[in-house]
Amino acid sequence: QMWQAGKRQASRAFSLYANIDILRPYFDVEPVQVRARLLESMIPVKMINFPQKIAGELYGPLMLVFTLVAILLHGMKTSDTIIREGTLMGTAIGTCFGYWLGVSSFMYFLAYLCNAQITMVQMLSLLGYGLFGHCITLFVTYNIHFHSLFYIFWLVVGGLSTLRMVAVLVSRTVGHTQRLILCGTLAALHMLFLLYLHFAYHKVVEGILDTLEGPNMPPFQRVARDIPVISNAVLNTTAKTIALTL
């Protein structure tokens, strides 16, 4: 009886390890390569007549998704977001992973329809590296609360990474309609996600919810309340002085 149980467990463990080995070639990277790819993800390529090579690697994208989760948690905490159903961490993880996996699958499906030459791993990798722009933008704008700064970052940083992804996709698709469909959806989803991340977790959501509950709730506030006033004021004045001197 115990032998049976032991054998079953051993075979289950073995199948788990066998599954890990499937993913092993996608993690075969060097730190130099990861850094190079991170920087490359912000540079749009010029050559769109020649199919661009996409590295099918999962380490970078996975780390970027986790970094985005951490930054999102930081943002949610400083903006005092109250999640009614569910937990803060669960929401952050769900949002980021949902975006990465869901939009990748959707784009892969669209690419299949539009006859683009891209595999699922490459799509995951491309979108994952595109999140690098999101990470930078959110990291900066969750700490310095200027809306105009966010819009500038959204356009410049978000735009650069979108342009890169779009250029790579365009280089791998033939036909104008297909290119338009594919790149239009990707650009829209990517930029809208950044917008969503900023606005959904930046302002205090409880103000909206609490006005439904009682009349003597505090009014809708737009400033961070959780971190003390000092660090907020320091960062804001630093940004102001930098903007003035430029």
Partner: protein
Amino acid sequence: FPGLADVSIPQDIPVEGEITVPVGSHSPDEDYSTLDEPVKDTIMRDLKAVGKKFVHVMYPRKSSALLRDWDLWGPLVLCVSLALMLQGGSADSKDDGGPQFAEVFVIIWFGAVVITLNSKLLGGTISFFQSLCVLGYCVMPLTVAMLVCRLVLLAGAGTVSFIVRLIVVGAMFAWSTLASTAFLADSQPPNRKALVVYPIFLFYFVISWMILTFTPQ
């Protein structure tokens, strides 16, 4: 084996002998069975092992004792105590904005599993449970930081207390990361250490963030 096809044993030589090989006492378990010893001995042995590992975490030297005999008692105790101490922090008393008990638990274990898988996929030589063991034990400085934060918050929740908490949590976070790196980075090929250290850094950063933003009601 074609050469052995014509070997035949003559009928008059007896073919017999002992089929069992006498086993000397190679392992100490052969001398005594741990089932018969008093319960106190078993518990004390395990407690001593756990205690030795805590000491190893406090002074991270490159010793293999932490890696060789892994156990998950220490990480469990640390995880439960950290999750318990993070209770009771809420901005709204109806449904709290602080992490739930299960949330902290899941974050720590899920994060540790992900880091372990990552280090294995990058070609690490450490086994799954050894890595879990190390990561769990290195949560200890952060648990100490949580304790200190709670004590500081008993005194008051102003700017000074925030700065004190920031310094304490920051120092403990650095200590955790260095301790776990000292144990785990050795098992990686030398040029990939940074790839393994980064997720560990993120993991302890998230835990430190949960500790730092804890405000009791």
